[in-house]
């Protein structure tokens, strides 16, 4: 019995068509896998189905044949759609029972009816076949226990559809096995369960049907999973029609002394055995799924998090970098952050100040900065990076996304960095600017900069990188030499990721 259809959903964000007529069709009593690479549109689809976003076009049809119009998460819940988000959504100081019943707290004369509340909690937990102290405070539970509480909470409002977003991301394999037992139980009880997961192993172990998203479209729509092999699913996720632009770039001297070299590095965040080298003129890419630990590694190298083992060498000399300030001024390492709006650009400040912030010390004469020096600086980099601005005092926040990103890059160039860590350079940037940005990055490498590139955009990676390091679960699991041909390279990368997961799960 079809219990839920989301048909031809379209959702556009400025510059991006996140969903392009994607369809999700669910049957009750089945486990449905929703798959796709980073940026394929899974999160957007989940947010529409759970009422967080409203679609621009398309419709949602519920089990009773009526159309669902969700103006908020509450509406989706009332329509019987429960969700367990990737991030925890519990009240830490409340008991298990109260968290489970939170959406429909039983009341008597304005007071919480604790007996009824406990009954609800017991009923939901027994549906899961889970024993938990319902009086325990949630903040004392383990991650796995909290997840079960969230599933129980979704059941408390009588959900017929249950979405689980990366439910095993932070579980041990024993805990994951237990979760799968719970999922099978719910399937037997007639629920339609959507499993969003990057781990193909577990998808093949538990799911019945599959929808694969790519570029906002559903390229496989509620097909039987048993009709596919893992290879075929990977092919579907990656696709074949990706464009890779050929850019001219001088070859890297493989014998040159690395500008940045990590040997057996471990960090307090959980990285282990990280070894890599970036030579002058080289672009080394780091690819991995969201949460693989790439940006975190960059943060540790820059001194934002502690390195607990191994050596970091800059131009062959072992160094200990304690702060970003030291990374910049002493070792000339710049970090173009992923999160422009929050970390990369002072949106309420003029372009001059944004660009000069890294070199104030050098520009200052007797502690004072002359405006002309700042303006000269801006003129230099506006020309060099081809930025479009109305004047040096324009506020950074008024620039387009692409120009903001160029501004973020310019301040590191102004600081004479010879090593750049570039994190997700083109997220939310339109195609034309993206191409210009790619040329820029290749040009920078051509002029001798060593670049460590982090991107989740595989075509971008294959366009830019000389070599691609694949990271999974805070380790480097392999290296793919990049021949700039999309099909073989992308498949080699994706296989490395899924092979790594097959070993760890």
């Amino acid at each position: 019995m079809t219990s839920f259809i989301a048909e031809k959903l379209v959702k556009t964000f400025p510059g991006v068509r996140a969903l392009d007529e994607a369809t999700l069709r669910l049957e009750s009593g089945t486990v449905h896998a929703l798959l796709g690479e980073n940026g394929a549109g899974k999160s957007t689809l989940i947010k529409i189905v759970t009422g967080v976003y409203q679609p621009d076009a398309g419709r949602i049809v519920l089990a009773d044949g009526t159309e669902g119009h969700f103006s908020g998460p509450q509406d989706a819940q009332r329509a019987g759609i429960g969700v367990v988000h990737q991030e925890r959504n519990l009240i830490p100081a409340f008991s298990v029972a109260e968290n489970i019943a939170l959406q429909a707290v039983p009341k008597r004369f304005g007071f919480v009816d604790k007996t009824a509340m406990r009954d609800i909690a017991r009923r939901c937990l027994s549906q899961l076949d889970v024993q938990l102290d319902i009086e325990a405070q949630v903040s004392t539970l383990s991650v796995a226990q909290m997840q079960l509480v969230e599933i129980a909470k979704a059941l408390a409002v009588d959900s017929s559809v249950l979405l689980l977003d990366e439910p095993t991301a932070s579980l041990t394999s024993d805990e994951a096995d237990h979760l799968f037992a719970v999922i099978r139980r719910l399937r037997a009880a007639g629920k339609a369960i959507v499993l969003v997961s990057h781990k193909l192993e577990e998808v093949f172990a538990i799911a019945d049907t599959v929808t694969v998203l790519r570029d906002g479209r559903s390229v496989a729509q509620a097909h039987k999973l048993s009709d596919y092999t893992r290879e075929q699913i990977v092919d579907l996720m990656v696709g074949r029609a990706q464009q890779v632009v050929e850019l001219d770039k001088p070859a890297v001297d493989p014998t040159a002394k690395p500008a940045l070299e990590l040997t057996d590095v471990a960090t307090e965040l959980g990285h282990a055995d990280i070894s890599l080298a970036v030579r002058p003129g080289e672009i080394v890419g780091m690819y991995g799924l969201v949460g693989a630990g790439r940006s975190e590694l960059a943060r540790a190298v820059l001194g934002l998090d502690r390195i607990t083992y191994g050596t970091v060498a800059v131009h062959g000399k072992p160094v200990r970098i304690g702060s970003v300030r030291e990374a910049l001024h002493r070792y000339r390492i710049g970090y173009v952050t992923e999160n422009r709006k929050e970390e990369g650009v002072f949106t309420e400040q003029p372009i001059t100040r944004n660009m000069a912030v890294t070199v104030w010390r050098r520009l200052a004469r007797l502690g004072m900065i002359r405006q002309r020096d700042e303006t000269d600086l801006v003129r230099t980099y506006v020309d060099r990076l081809g930025m479009r601005i109305s004047g040096p005092t324009q506020l950074a926040g008024q620039l387009s996304g692409g120009n903001q990103q160029k501004l973020s890059l310019a301040k590191w160039l102004a600081a004479d960095c010879d090593i750049l860590v570039i994190d997700e350079p083109t997220v939310g940037i339109d195609v034309r600017t993206k191409a210009a940005f790619h040329e820029l990055i290749v040009g920078l490498a051509g002029s001798g900069l060593a670049i460590l590139l982090i991107t989740s955009d595989l075509p971008e990676m294959i366009t830019l990188a000389d070599r691609i390091l694949v990271m999974s679960e805070y380790r480097i699991v392999g290296e793919v030499p990049n021949n700039h041909r999309y099909d073989p390279t992308s498949q080699a990368v994706i296989r490395l990721i899924h092979a790594a997961e097959a070993v760890t799960t």
């Binding site: 998460p73 509450q74 819940q77 925890r88 959504n89 519990l90 009240i91 830490p92 100081a93 409340f94 109260e98 939170l102 959406q103 707290v105 009341k107 304005g110 007071f111 919480v112 604790k114 076949d129 889970v130 024993q131 938990l132 102290d133 325990a136 405070q137 903040s139 004392t140 539970l141 383990s142 991650v143 796995a144 226990q145 079960l148 932070s170 237990h178 037992a181 965040l269 959980g270």
Partner: protein
């Protein structure tokens, strides 16, 4: 059935409350021993408890907004303003005492409601909003009767305020009753739980159908109402009021809940902890009087204890993060 092993709570509020009770008892015992028992006399005990009522109320008033992760800087001056309005109604308008008392509390609730609405409607940080209303109310407080003092009002009310039952001051009993009501509200009432849910995890609360805006408004309203209660207790207890009332209440209003284990980020309250902390601060005052210490030292001590309490909480949070990260 599958059983997942439960970890023991690493930190419980009850622990804080026991610690505070222990500190209060030891402190009192030291005071008794070093002052040759003068704090054991009936008169002194009565005075300690009488002047505990207002600090308890302003502490709970602050706690109500801390519950949703807000702060209310206007607690102190609002207490003074409500006291002045209440006295003005009796002396100059000629209202009967009971009606003036109710009006005094309603003024507090009204100002709290305005605070809450301003925070929700303007989306300006509650700290700034109440900083502004604090300044306004500070002025209004003097507007009621200038720097002059109201006295000689409602002898019946004052007698009630200074009266005691079985040696326990009436105002203290009232404060305990109000504290019990606040505790029941936050522990059992559906509305109180919604406030705590909103303070504990606003996004999760929203997904569960709790209106965070409503929670903010109600928390500020309760905060104002409790400041109003503190105001009328002052009127009944002191027999004379002027516009300086409330000047010295802002620090104690924060000190009691913070020392009492209330989370500054919201979501956790402790009525017992707040009241015990108010008692300890009261005992510091008593010690100051008994040993004739320069009053400036009292503020220094209380300020240092508040800072220490916040630091300890912060350390706990850091340690807990460390132990749960992979």
């Amino acid at each position: 059935m599958t059983t997942l092993n439960l970890t023991k709570p690493r930190f419980s509020l009850r622990g804080t409350e026991f610690t505070l009770a222990g500190i209060a008892i030891v402190f009192y015992a030291i005071l008794a021993a070093t002052t040759h028992g003068s704090v054991l006399s009936g008169g002194t005990i009565t005075a300690i408890l009488q002047f505990l009522a207002v600090p308890m109320m302003v502490g709970l008033s602050q706690m109500a907004v801390l519950a949703v992760g807000q702060m209310n800087l206007s607690v102190g001056v609002l207490t003074g303003f409500c006291a002045m309005v209440c006295a003005w109604l009796m002396v100059q308008v000629g209202l009967p005492a009971w009606l003036a008392v109710i009006c005094g509390m309603l003024v507090g609730a009204g100002v709290g409601l305005i605070n809450g609405l301003l925070v929700v409607l303007t989306r300006i940080n509650g700290f700034i909003v109440t900083l502004a209303t604090m300044t306004i109310i500070d002025g209004l407080r003097y507007g009621v009767h200038g720097t002059a003092t109201y006295q000689g009002y409602a002898p019946g009310l004052v007698a009630l305020g200074r009266g005691s039952i079985l040696g326990i001051p009436g105002v203290f009993l009232l404060a305990v009753l109000v504290a019990v009501a606040v505790a029941v509200f936050f522990r059992r009432a559906a509305l109180g739980r919604q406030l705590l849910a909103s303070g504990g995890n606003p996004f999760a609360a929203r997904l569960s159908g709790v209106s965070n805006d409503r929670a903010l408004v109600i928390a500020h309203l309760i905060s104002g109402l409790l400041a109003g209660v503190a105001g009328v207790i002052t009127v009944a207890l002191s027999g004379s009021v002027n516009a300086t009332i409330g000047d010295d209440l802002l620090l104690p209003s924060f000190a009691a809940p913070i020392i009492g284990g209330v989370a500054l980020v919201g979501g956790v309250v402790s009525v017992v902890g707040t009241c015990l902390a108010a008692l300890i601060i009261r005992l510091v005052d008593v010690a100051q009087a008994q040993y004739s210490i320069n009053p400036q030292w009292v503020d220094l001590i209380i300020g240092a204890v508040v800072l220490g309490a916040v630091l300890i909480t912060q350390l706990r949070v850091v340690r807990r993060r460390r132990s749960t990260s992979p």
